[in-house]
């Protein structure tokens, strides 16, 4: 065997791995084929890593083995976190991915500086800047999701100006480096600015905007990996990075459409700081409330019930009680469905995973477009821990900050029940007219406790 054929073998493993990665994503299109998709991804990954180990320049296998083993030891607990912790785990893994890319980029710079062509240097700068800001941006997002950091947006005057100025400086340094890569003293400054920019970028973003931010960071992590592919001359990496980048981009688009907001608005708009003004003059409006046994009686008499879960359900860890409610109602012959708004929760698809974890069959989970036409024929819409995504003001009130955002039309159901801790407005601080409708019953209490009480009435009531 000559060296040349080793190179060919490596390239062939990369070729096969690329095909398997694409198939892997293709099979994610349906829950029935998705697990095959993971298998394809795993085989592709294994092939590519084994192929890489044949690389003839490699002399130090021991350090590689230690690092791989250590990574595995850290990875296993990260794969075993609770389902409610998936958003912060995902943010953390964006940070890890970006860390790998940034470190490799930095090392490549110091090893290859003298001979760097200007294109290679430009891509390297893109790699390191995108990677650097993704590391800290994702860590900030993870911190907010884990509630180590405050979820409220932190804003100050001139914030956007400071951020843009910083990014501008990083870009200028990048241009200087492209023209003359030998300015070694500038490189660490550029990395430091990117890292600082990541922190500043996520500070003003509130919890409700996390689905978009996580998707956007996902996209950045992918694009920086693709840039690394250019730098190290690896086609497989370019492909994987492009796939990840486009995936994150699509999810970001879906998320911002679901909030009727643009990327720039999410990133620089600092939502959630809004009007205390709306509260005045509305004190006189009345709400109707009901107890658990009243709610149980109405639910038991219904033919069709749609449950609308939101982040509040996740916070209260109420998904298992909700499943008991689903079972109790289904046993009585009630048709129960779940309406999932795209931005319900803290990351794309968050509610689906929690409900699936609670053992609710996925054919009972419906997307917004599919379920909205059903609400007029729905006897009871039960809202658990969701607020803004059900706010009819988004449809009717041109003055509302969320006007134009697509919502679940729960107000069209014959009866609406809302489980809520108190009348305090939701995250965005926007008043919800849904709560004052004649057909709306407010069920005040903790989501888990209240649903549990309804279930007890339905099952233990003896009728």
């Amino acid at each position: 065997m000559t060296n040349i054929s080793f190179e060919t073998v490596i390239e062939v493993t990369y070729l096969v791995a690329s095909a398997l990665f694409i198939l892997s994503l293709k099979w994610m299109s349906s829950p029935t084929t998705a697990r095959r998709g993971i298998f394809a991804g795993e085989i592709g990954m294994l092939l590519a890593i084994c192929g890489t180990l044949l690389h003839r320049g490699i002399v130090d296998y021991r350090t590689i083995a230690i690092a791989l083993a250590l990574g595995t030891i850290i990875g296993i607990p990260l794969g075993r976190v609770a389902m409610t912790a998936v958003p912060q785990r995902t943010a953390l893994s964006h940070a890890f991915g970006a860390l790998c890319v940034t470190l490799v980029g930095t090392t490549e710079y110091y090893i290859n500086t003298p001979g760097a062509k200007s294109f290679a240097m430009a891509v390297l700068c893109v790699e390191v800047i995108l990677g650097g800001l993704t590391i800290t941006g994702s860590l900030m997002a993870a911190g907010k999701l884990q509630e180590i950091l405050p979820q409220r947006p932190l804003t100050y005057k001139g914030q956007n100006l400071v951020n843009f100025a910083l990014l501008g400086v990083a870009v200028v340094i990048a241009i200087i480096l492209v023209m003359n890569p030998a300015h070694k003293e500038l490189f660490p400054i550029m990395v430091a600015i990117a890292v600082a920019f990541g922190v500043l970028l996520v500070i003003p973003i509130g919890g409700a905007d996390m689905p978009t931010v996580i998707s956007l960071l996902n996209s950045y992590a992918g694009l920086s990996a693709a840039a690394m592919g250019f730098v190290v001359g690896n086609k497989l990496l370019i492909i994987a990075g492009a796939l990840d980048g486009s995936s994150g981009m699509i999810l970001s688009i879906v998320m911002s459409k679901a909030m009727n907001r643009s990327f720039t608005n999410v990133l620089f708009g600092a939502f959630g700081q809004v009007q205390p003004a709306a509260a005045a003059g509305q004190e006189t409006r009345t709400t109707r409330s009901a107890t658990a046994d009243e709610a149980a009686a109405i639910l038991a008499a219904a033919n069709k019930v749609v449950i609308v879960p939101g982040y509040g359900m996740a916070v209260a860890q109420a998904q298992h009680k909700v499943r008991e409610l689903y079972d109790a109602l289904t046993k009585r012959g009630v048709d129960v469905k779940f309406a999932i708004h795209p931005v319900a929760g803290r990351m794309p698809g968050h509610m689906n995973v929690l409900l699936a974890e609670a053992d609710i069959p996925y054919d009972r989970l419906a997307d917004m477009e599919d379920i909205n036409g059903d609400f007029p024929q729905t006897d009871v819409a039960l809202v658990i821990g969701a607020n803004d995504v059900t706010n009819p003001a988004a449809r009717e009130d041109k003055g509302s900050p969320i006007y134009g955002m697509p919502i679940l039309d729960v107000d069209k159901a014959r009866t609406v029940m809302v489980i809520k801790r108190s009348m305090s407005p939701g995250f965005a601080g926007i008043d919800n007219p849904l709560y004052y409708m004649d057909r709306t019953l407010m069920l005040f209490g903790d989501a888990k406790g209240f649903v549990g009480n309804i279930v007890r009435e339905l099952t233990g009531g003896g009728h």
Partner: protein
């Protein structure tokens, strides 16, 4: 490894289009596992880090490269594990449920 700028851009462009077309078809039901899967696949960056460590060109390359391998490997292992755990939970109501 000889990879010209244009070759690279061709690959990037095609992969980007494939990504858009394939991922547009992913059901919103699976958006969370999709993100953890792409995250695991993206950690293929580990191959670049492995070569850096293995070539032992400088102690800087060994140290930074090793950290990079650790970070990427934990994404691979953790990402595939959690995606599999999530997908295992999705089931339909059709198969007769245990009574």
């Amino acid at each position: 490894m000889g990879l010209s700028l244009l070759d690279g851009l061709f690959i990037f462009m095609l992969a980007g289009f494939i990504g858009f077309e394939v991922i547009r078809r992913v059901t919103p039901l699976l958006h969370t596992p999709l993100m953890s899967l792409t995250n695991a696949l993206d950690a293929i960056a580990v191959v670049g880090a492995i070569i850096l460590v293995g070539e032992r060109k400088s102690s800087l390359a060994t140290i930074l490269g090793s950290i990079a391998v650790v970070a990427a490997t934990s994404n691979i292992v953790g990402g595939f594990l959690i995606t599999d755990r999530m997908l295992r939970m999705f089931h339909t109501s059709r198969p007769a449920k245990k009574s």
